[in-house]
Symmetry: C2
Subunit: 318 residues, 2 copies
């Protein structure tokens, strides 16, 4: 079975670990969000790709869900001693090496997809990890600072401001001109099922879908497309998805997120058991819906979620 998964960072990575356990023989292609990539200290940082790579490759800091296990922060402390910022982005020493290798390869002319493949040669994540695009896409967030509206990089909004100010708009700058990375459209065309993990529907999966050709390829693939709600009981399971949902005028409910993806894209939708009452509304919108436990408390619970998603896909396929 060939599965394509659109993934953001922590939520997507953890779901993928469950999927690998639920479907060990599947050929899994992950299309990763690169809209939150950022240049820091002259280095290209790809937080979502790295979170997937480190999580599946066994290098992740399990507690925080991002960054490297057994990490030190000497480079960062020295940069601060030089007065070079930003200090709010937590790059560890081991993590720095990944960005140094990536930046060096990009400078040598390799596209991000080739760089990602080279990095994965080491980590062996057990999936094929593709960036959504080799072109630069950068998610900007419109916020009010001292009474003036300005656009800040998504990481500045998310990490520095902790999404504590209202987001008035979310713009994936460059997305309109971006092309899907080599292999993305082919993987979707050859997929038996497409999954949307409980990643952020706006700044993760939404950004991937904003690359021209990807949404259309998924809609036209003629295979079940099944998503898992990142909203449980009216709040994000983790992260601050409600803040960016508000920016695009979508309520932070499991049903509203399904409607946001829409029945033209989504065939099946899993909501948590606490949101069972929402299932009728989702089904009314033309999307098959099941209520199952959606808390990724451990690997077994996550694998069970992945099995439910695959079962719903088969049910949809009919």
């Amino acid at each position: 079975m060939r599965i394509v998964v659109l993934a953001g960072g922590i939520g997507g990575a953890r779901f993928l670990r469950g999927l690998l356990k639920a479907a060990p023989d599947a050929e899994i292609t992950v299309v990763g969000n690169t809209g939150d990539d950022i240049h820091l200290f002259g280095l290209k940082v790809c937080p979502d790709l790295d979170t997937v790579m480190y999580t599946l490759g066994g290098g992740i800091n399990e507690e925080q869900g991002w960054g490297r296990a057994d990490e030190t922060f000497h480079v960062k402390a020295e940069l601060a001693a030089y007065g070079v910022g930003p200090g709010w982005f937590g790059l560890g020493d081991r993590d720095f090496a990944t960005h140094i290798v990536r930046t060096q390869m990009l400078a040598a002319g390799y596209p991000l997809s080739a760089v990602t493949e080279a990095l994965c040669d080491r980590w062996k994540p057990g999936v094929r990890l593709l960036p959504m695009s080799d072109d630069r896409v950068e998610t900007h967030v419109a916020v009010d600072v001292d009474g003036e509206r300005k656009a800040v990089h998504f990481q500045e909004y998310w990490v520095r401001l902790r999404a504590s100010v209202d987001a008035h708009a979310i713009v994936p700058v460059g997305a309109e001109q971006a092309k899907p990375a080599p292999g993305v459209l082919e993987a979707i065309a050859e997929a038996d099922v497409v999954l949307f993990p409980p990643s952020n529907p706006v700044v993760s999966i939404g950004t991937i879908l904003a690359v021209p050709g990807i949404r259309e390829a998924i809609a036209d693939a003629g295979v079940p497309v099944v998503g898992l709600s990142p909203i449980v009981g009216g709040a994000p399971v983790r992260g601050m998805a409600d803040k960016v949902l508000a920016a695009v005028g979508v309520e932070a409910t499991a049903a509203a997120v399904a409607a946001h993806y829409g029945s033209g894209l989504l065939d099946g939708w899993l909501v948590d058991t606490v949101d069972a009452a929402a299932a009728a509304e989702v089904e009314g919108a033309g999307i098959r819906c099941r209520a199952v436990p959606l808390m990724m408390t451990d690997l077994d619970a996550t694998a069970a979620m992945a099995r439910e998603a695959l079962a719903l896909a088969e049910e949809v396929r009919g």
Copy 2:
């Protein structure tokens, strides 16, 4: 008193520490060798400038004489795990931060002299540290590998090969087209004395003198130029200066190095007491010579050497 010092790495840096103690009120400008600069992992590394900066700024690893104190090597280990080399160059985590800042500033358009000044804002070395040039100069060494002559970067010859193969030629590639960095010629013109510390006469001081205009400015400055022999008892005090002296046809003796600089450039020369017999030969070549202890065993011994150099300068001035 205004003193200009041409300096390589460890030997130059340690001598400068003694000079600062011997002449605490002097205005010292250091013209640093950049011929052994190297690009590693896409980063610009300036070993000699950093050794001077770290040594005088209190950040040096005292035992090895280069690199940072209290250093860790996580970035390097991770780069090796990615299969990215070279592994023979010992960059520590704290040291990496310096190269990251430097590379970022160079990429933003600052010349190396401005970058060095910015880095020294943090380290406050107590001297004005100038690179010999803002232009790229790279010392290459001609060696025989598997029966074939090829040119390797000086660092490869020095660090990877440990100078264990014969050097047939030493070429400061790019030197002929290089211009002295802003401030270098001015500092020499305004100097009261110019000192050559016991740095490598070929690949450190020789490379600085290979930048058109610097040798001439020193010769024309009309002030005492005094050097300290890096050769004691027929062998280098540290490092492998004898290997590169052989490449340029100069014997590894205190007198031969003085003659190599020449009386057109050098007014005074300090040899170690064990080489007292060589003093007559040096004086015969028109260079005032004194035999004094030249082992930089501690700060006091080094300060005494600096005082001897300044005393010889005054004697030459007459």
